[in-house]
């Protein structure tokens, strides 16, 4: 065992670093999905499309800035701009025009509406950005790399993936926890999540909260995409991949807990990147194996609360 670690310390180190960066991105998407599900009670299949569109928009804005000869740090402004734009434009548009019409319908219909939206957005994305890979790495190059000592080896790792991605995920986690527990709007969101009827009876404008939450969730997905855009080549299908991964995170974590979503994202992100380095065939399988194993022991998810059964 000891020799195995000595021989593979470099790979293991890379896997851990990659896993951390990966987990940060997955968390951004999964936490938005979780939040939206809490308030709307809809599993939003199109959430992954928002991630993809966020990524493409960020890349486009970034490339546009670069073409205009703006300084490289403007690449970061591009990332934030993209996330805000998607959250503020697409979010309300989708909630108002589409989702609002189907609240209270059967779960299946609600799920399928978002699936239809996913199909539409997938093609919109192809029409706007084409099928050729799009990539920008200005934000990645701007910060350069950091040499990390691992035993006798040194791993050069991009500072962007090492500090920026986990940093933003951590800020999101802490900010969200503070927002939901300490501010009035946040507490109102929690109230609507817990019991919509009672919250409405207390005079809470549930329609406004729903709009707000959905747009916020959309913005988080887009931010996840925007942050991911410098680290990968954007091709059709990234939305589809992202959403199934976030489904796995949300189901494994159980519903409602944001800290739970963070820990689960970390677990699944690390598990996946370890698989990438040591058993690449099983990269895609690992998140689901973790999910099945967890649900086998805890049917309500790692952090979910058991609901009382109604008669």
């Amino acid at each position: 065992m000891g020799t195995w670690f000595a021989e593979n310390s470099l790979l293991l180190g890379l896997a851990l670093l990659d896993g951390l960066a990966n987990a940060a991105l997955v968390f951004m998407v999964a936490v938005g999905l979780n939040l939206v599900f809490g308030v709307l009670r809809i599993v939003n299949v199109a959430h992954g499309s928002l991630f993809a569109i966020g990524a493409y928009t960020a890349a486009s804005i970034g490339l546009f800035f670069a073409a205009r000869g703006l300084p490289p740090w403007m690449g970061y402004v591009a990332l934030v701009l993209a996330a805000v734009a998607i959250g503020a434009v697409l979010g309300p548009l989708i909630e108002r025009l589409l989702l609002r019409r189907i609240y209270g319908h059967e779960d299946v219909l609600q799920l399928l509406v978002t699936f239809a939206l996913f199909m539409i957005l997938e093609d919109v994305q192809k029409l706007v950005w084409g099928v050729q890979p799009v990539s920008q790495d200005a934000p990645l190059r701007f910060l350069g790399t950091v040499d990390i000592p691992f035993g006798e080896d040194v791993i050069p790792f991009t500072a962007y993936q090492l500090f920026v991605l986990p940093g933003i995920a951590l800020v999101t986690l802490l900010g969200l926890a503070w927002f939901l527990r300490r501010t009035l709007t946040g507490r109102v969101i929690v109230a609507v999540t817990t019991d919509k009827e009672a919250a409405t009876a207390m005079g809470i404008d549930a329609a406004r909260i729903t709009l707000l939450t959905f747009s916020f969730g959309a913005g988080l997905a887009a931010l996840g995409g925007a942050l991911a855009s410098p680290t990968l080549a954007l091709v059709p299908g990234i939305g589809a991949q992202t959403i199934v991964l976030s489904f796995a995170v949300v189901a494994t974590a159980g519903l409602g807990q944001i800290e739970g979503a963070a820990l689960t994202a970390l677990l699944i992100g690390l598990g996946r990147s370890i698989a990438v380095y040591f058993a690449p065939e099983f990269e895609v399988v690992v998140p689901y194996l973790i999910m099945v194993a967890v649900l086998l022991v805890r049917p309500q998810g790692l952090f979910g609360v058991i609901e009382t059964r109604r008669v």
């Binding site: 219909l109 399928l112 699936f115 239809a116 539409i120 199934v244 949300v250 999910m291 649900l295």
Partner: protein, 307 residues
């Protein structure tokens, strides 16, 4: 009820006439019938209020069973039951685990199993040829090896025959006490159990039956396309099956076939008209159906009769 049988007979006749009049439609309609059989399984689970977002795994199991076994044994009359049995067996094994979960967990666990199967099919290149997929070897039907044109008709005929068979079976099953109990799972499961009905066993039976029909549907798809790729197991394919169920309407055993035919026709024509945006058109159709005709095609038809 009589009208339903009449419509089924008329529909079957219309399919045969269409397949005969427009030869290239035969392929599309055979696929539609195959998917319709698989969607019957989705329909059963929808009765219990459960959405399987991973049913494509059973199609994949059926299709790959066909592709793997065909070089060893080319007799369709043996291959089809084998595909059905393997899918049903797999359905039983994971069903024992899945029926403990409801709603989002049920849907997501199905998705998880389907994704595991998908990536195994994709990654284990030595066995499955990865994304290249496997060509289905030449098949024989009751000992004969007909030429291509005849064979297409035979596969179409088998699909139509099995569609009618499974349609009747599902109708019979849904009217039986076991089938009625499914609706109980949707409304209040606890009440079922107070009456002494084991809810999990009721759901398990439906799940295994739906897996079996998924396997048959997948085997028929493999017989028609003669080539299977992992794409058949991807989660978007599962989404399409649920889409078809809602498009056709969950109110009748005819719904899946109405839905599947409409779906495949829209897909073919949309792909021909605007190659880059057929998904968008399908998505648009789905939205229109859900917002303006929540009962699906079947709902529209049956409302007309009542009026």
């Amino acid at each position: 009820m009589k009208r339903e049988s009449l419509l089924a007979a008329l529909g079957a006749l219309a399919l045969v006439v269409c397949a005969w009049a427009v030869p290239w439609l035969k392929f599309v309609l055979t696929i539609a019938l195959a998917k319709g059989i698989a969607v019957l399984g989705i329909l059963l689970l929808l009765r219990a209020g459960q959405v399987s977002f991973g049913h494509s795994m059973f199609l994949a199991l059926g299709a790959y069973t066909m592709a793997f076994l065909a070089p060893m044994e080319d007799e369709v009359l043996l291959l089809l039951p084998a595909a059905a049995l393997i899918a049903a067996g797999f359905g039983l094994v994971i069903g024992l685990f899945l029926v403990r979960y409801r709603d989002i967990f049920f849907g997501m666990l199905n998705l998880a199993f389907a994704m595991v199967l998908y990536s195994l099919l994709e990654k284990l290149y030595a066995i499955t040829k990865g994304t290249d997929g496997i060509r289905v070897a030449a098949l024989s039907f009751a000992g004969t090896e007909p030429e291509r044109g005849t064979q297409e008709w035979i596969v179409f005929g088998i699909a139509l025959g099995l569609a009618i068979l499974f349609g009747l079976l599902v109708r019979f099953y849904l009217a039986s006490p076991m089938g009625r109990a499914l609706a109980g799972i949707k409304t209040r499961e606890t009440r079922l159990e107070f009456m002494g009905v084991p809810a999990r066993r009721v759901l398990l039976f439906a799940y295994v039956l739906s897996a079996l029909m998924g396997g048959v549907g997948g085997a028929l798809v493999a017989m028609t396309t003669r080539h299977v790729t992992p794409q058949i197991a991807y989660w978007t394919a599962s989404g399409e099956l649920v889409f078809i169920a809602i498009l056709g309407g969950a109110g009748s055993a005819l719904g899946p076939f109405l839905g599947a035919t409409a779906f495949e026709l829209v897909r073919v024509y949309a792909a021909a008209a605007v190659a880059d945006a057929w998904q968008m058109i399908l998505g648009g159709v789905l939205l229109v159906v859900i917002l303006f005709a929540p009962g699906g095609v079947w709902g529209l038809l049956s409302r007309r009769w009542r009026a």
